[in-house]
């Protein structure tokens, strides 16, 4: 009984720490500097992209190198909603997410015919086609891109209210609103991932990842599960992409469909943090941000250092930093496994309470 008590109290302590952490993060725009808000915004958006990619590669076995397609489509459709159709940018974010999801359906139709490395290359090719198509969209500046009209974010949903509430400039209020949305997105993605992965479908998905043929033979429909996850992750990635470009306020095909920014860095985050775990991408996003700050002044050396670290982790700690931590301490946050029930006695009577 004492062990279950301490386990219970460790759980309560964990929940308490998480609540304090989340409350602290909500309060950042009120108590922190605008630079901090912007930095945390980029960490949070990268985290959401990483959680989405981790879901695909780490749990569904879909190693996509075409996530920039969804970021770019989300961004472009958000710009179209705002500039061409006069909608609120936040409505544009939602429409951008839906557009990315719709795009993922034909993309899945073609890419699911490919496996492993071929799937990766196929998704990359499709993303590049999307980039080329976007650069033909003359109403949004074609190859040179376009900017959000000055003052667009000033009138964005919630911004005037936050401006008055915190008594800050419109620009700072817009940063606060996008930051809170990124925070909400990250928390939602984390919660949905956790609940989904512990469900029947999540277990089936991991079985498909581990062995396709065996999964079919135990009654799982692999295509349906993979398609579901692929389209939902496209939605999450598209939403995030649109949100990122509200903050940037300028879109070009090169920036919105950048494989380095929206896929390579995201893969790096997941791999060094720990692929196939939920805390992994969180740890990875923090490490990535720290490295970015530390090495920002060294130019290309920064990319070389990231590459070397990525290779080192893949060679010596295949389960990432989070894998190292759980191996050393046996401590696991957000465990996804289903523990076998305590063994029943031979006569199947309930085990008597120990006194």
């Amino acid at each position: 009984m004492s062990s279950s008590f301490s386990k219970g109290s460790a759980r309560s302590l964990g929940i308490a720490i998480a609540v304090v952490l989340v409350l602290g993060m909500i309060a950042v725009p009120v108590i922190g500097s605008r630079a901090l808000v912007q930095d945390l915004f980029s960490v949070l958006t990268l985290l959401v992209l990483a959680l989405n990619w981790n879901m695909l590669a780490g749990f569904a076995g879909l190693v996509s190198v075409g996530q920039q397609a969804f970021v770019g489509i989300g961004a472009y459709v958000m710009f179209a909603c705002t500039i061409l159709w006069g909608l609120d940018p936040l409505v544009g974010v939602l429409v951008g997410g839906v557009a990315a999801m719709l795009f993922s359906i034909p993309m899945a139709f073609f890419a699911f015919r490919l496996n492993g490395a071929y799937f990766a290359i196929g998704t990359w090719a499709v993303a590049d086609i999307a980039r080329l198509v976007a650069s033909q969209w003359t109403a949004l500046g074609g190859g040179t891109g376009t900017s959000l009209p000055k003052g667009t974010t000033k009138d964005m949903f919630g911004v005037p209210f936050v401006k008055d509430l915190l008594d800050v400039s419109s620009a700072a209020a817009a940063d606060a609103v996008t930051y809170w949305l990124a925070l909400a997105l990250a928390l939602a993605m984390l919660t949905i991932s956790y609940v989904f992965l512990r469900s029947k479908m999540g277990l089936g998905l991991q079985a498909v990842r581990d062995n396709l043929e065996a999964a079919r033979s135990v009654g799982i429909n692999p295509t349906r599960l993979k398609a579901l996850v692929f389209t939902l992750c496209a939605f999450g990635t598209g939403l995030t992409g649109a949100l990122i470009f509200i903050q940037i306020t300028r879109v070009t095909p090169q920036a919105a469909f950048a494989v380095i920014d929206w896929t390579a860095f995201v893969i790096f985050i997941v791999v060094i943090g720990g692929i196939g775990t939920l805390p992994g991408p969180i740890l990875g996003a923090l490490v990535f941000y720290a490295l970015e700050r530390l090495l920002a002044d060294y130019g290309t050396v920064y990319l070389i250092a990231l590459g070397l670290l990525g290779i080192a982790v893949m060679l010596f700690a295949r389960r990432g930093l989070w894998g190292l931590i759980t191996d050393r301490t046996g401590f696991d946050l957000l465990p996804l496994g289903h523990a076998p029930p305590a063994p029943l006695s031979e006569t199947r009577q309930p085990v008597p309470e120990r006194t």
Binding site: N221, P341, P343
Partner: protein, 239 residues
């Protein structure tokens, strides 16, 4: 009515006919053994029955229903459980989760009932101690047991066992035979491919001999093993 029936089933890989006009019926709860030299088409026959391969010709029915065009997933739902000759565990999932996923999907067992069912099967197959271990870390013998256990978790009406006794010690073999007898005793029909003849003949009621994709003989184990033709082909004895 026969639970499983194959009518004139044939399958070719290119010019090679690996299954040649196979026809037989399996009665409800019956145990059938399949023997034959390597490359006789035994595993291919399983792939055809489980739906991993489609026959070029012929009809496969389950309880009278034509399932020839159905996927492995649908066949599993209709009551075909299978093991693979080369074990195919879900390596990153625990042994228990390997069964849980099979019970939830293929067996249609509710989340409430699945844990007890899975633990019961793990105990009967001697895997209870390994329940929490990652399936990828198991030894070959335990992986073979897991193949049997996972197929059981789909709650099959007919179970296909592909060489699960190969490489076992005598003691382990006796245990395995007892487990399979237990499954048979529950009224689950069994088709068992095996080279370990004494294990096979101690369970099955009928024996089929395959050679070059063709059914050479099917009948009572004693009769089949006494046939000079079988002795020559399968045991390599010149008669």
């Amino acid at each position: 009515m026969a639970i499983l029936s194959l009518q004139n089933v044939s399958k070719s890989f290119g010019a090679l006919k690996v299954t040649d006009d196979v026809r037989f019926e399996l009665a409800e709860g019956e145990a059938l053994g399949i023997i034959g030299p390597n490359g006789a088409g035994k595993s291919t026959l399983f792939n055809l029955i489980a739906g991993n391969l489609r026959p070029d010709e012929g009809v496969i029915t389950l309880s009278g229903r034509d399932v020839t065009g159905e996927s492995p997933m649908q066949r599993c739902a209709s009551g075909v459980g299978r093991s693979f000759q080369i074990p195919q565990p879900f390596g990153h999932l625990s042994v228990y989760e390997n069964l849980l996923v099979a019970a939830r999907f293929g067996g249609g067992v509710s989340g409430h009932d699945a844990p007890a069912l899975c633990m019961d099967i793990l105990r009967r197959t001697g895997l209870a101690e390994s329940a929490a271990k990652p399936a990828g870390s198991l030894s070959l013998l335990s992986r073979k047991r897991l193949e049997l256990a996972r197929a059981m978790a789909t709650r099959p009406r007919v179970i296909l066992l592909d060489e699960i006794a190969g490489g076992l010690t005598d003691g382990e073999c006796v245990e395995l035979v007892a487990t399979i007898r237990g499954i048979h005793g529950e009224g689950i029909a069994i088709i068992w491919i095996e080279h370990v003849l004494h294990a096979l003949t101690s369970v099955v009621e009928r024996l089929m001999v395959l050679n070059f994709g063709k059914m050479l003989m099917i009948g009572a184990p004693d009769e089949v093993m006494a046939s000079p033709e079988v002795k020559e082909i399968y045991l390599g004895i010149e008669v």
